[in-house]
C-alpha cells in the first residue's frame, strides 16, 4: 500500500515537472516547482515507512522548511523584477 501511494506521488512529480518545463509564464514554473517540493516531502515520508527507516522523516521535515523559504525567495526576486508602481516594499 505504501508502494501504491509512492507510485502515485512519483507520477504526480513527473506531471509537475512537465508543467515546469512547458509552463508559459514564470509563475507557472514557480507553482510547479513548489508542488514538486511538497510532493518530495510526502514521498520522503512514505519511503521512510516503505523501507522501514523512520530516520528519513527528519529529512522530510528539513525539506519542508527549505522548500517554503526557497519559493518565497524566488517569488520575491521575480516580484521586484516585474513589479509595478503600486507594489512597493511596505506590503511585504
Amino acid at each position: 500500500m505504501f508502494l501504491a501511494a509512492s507510485l502515485a506521488i512519483f507520477l504526480t512529480m513527473a506531471l509537475a515537472l512537465a508543467r515546469a518545463l512547458v509552463g508559459p509564464s514564470v509563475y507557472d514554473r514557480v507553482l510547479a516547482v513548489n508542488m514538486f517540493g511538497t510532493k518530495t516531502v510526502l514521498l520522503l515520508s512514505v519511503v521512510a515507512f516503505l523501507y522501514g527507516r523512520p530516520d528519513f522523516l527528519d529529512l522530510a521535515l528539513a525539506y519542508a522548511l527549505i522548500n517554503f523559504i526557497g519559493v518565497l525567495a524566488v517569488l520575491h526576486f521575480f516580484e521586484n523584477r516585474h513589479g509595478s508602481d503600486t507594489h512597493n516594499a511596505e506590503d511585504k
Binding site: 500500500m1 508543467r19 515507512f49 519559493v71 516585474h82
Partner: protein, 108 residues
C-alpha cells in the same frame, strides 16, 4: 482492532494518492495559472492530510508519529502561504484570470 486500523490507513493512503494524482493531472491540463493554482493547492492540503494520516495510523504512538504531526503542521501552514504569495505576485505583475471583468479602480 489492528485490522480495522490497517484497512483505515490503506483507505487513507489510497485516497491521498488518488487526490495527489488528480491534482497532478490538473496542474498539467487546466487552462489558466489560477485554475492550476487551485489544483496544486488541493493536493497541498487534502492529499497531504490523507497520506500523512494514513502513515500515522501505521506508525502508532511513536516518535515517528510526532514527527509526522510536525510535518503536517508545517505543510498546512506553508502551503497556503506560498500559494497566496504566488497569486499575489502574479496579480501584481499584471496577470489576470481569463474572462474576468475588472473593476474600474483596479490597479493596473
Amino acid at each position: 482492532m489492528a485490522t480495522v486500523l490497517d484497512v483505515l490507513s490503506w483507505i487513507m493512503l489510497l485516497g491521498g494518492g488518488g487526490f495527489v494524482l488528480v491534482g497532478g493531472i490538473g496542474i498539467l491540463r487546466l487552462p489558466d495559472l489560477y485554475t492550476r493554482m487551485h489544483a496544486a493547492s488541493l493536493t497541498d492540503t487534502l492529499g497531504t492530510l490523507l497520506i500523512l494520516g494514513g502513515i500515522m495510523l501505521q506508525a502508532g504512538l511513536t516518535l515517528a508519529s510526532i514527527k509526522l504531526v510536525a510535518i503536517a503542521i508545517f505543510l498546512l501552514l506553508t502551503g497556503p502561504t506560498a500559494t497566496y504569495a504566488l497569486a499575489n505576485a502574479a496579480l501584481m505583475s499584471g496577470m489576470y484570470p481569463k474572462d474576468t471583468k475588472l473593476p474600474e479602480d483596479m490597479p493596473s
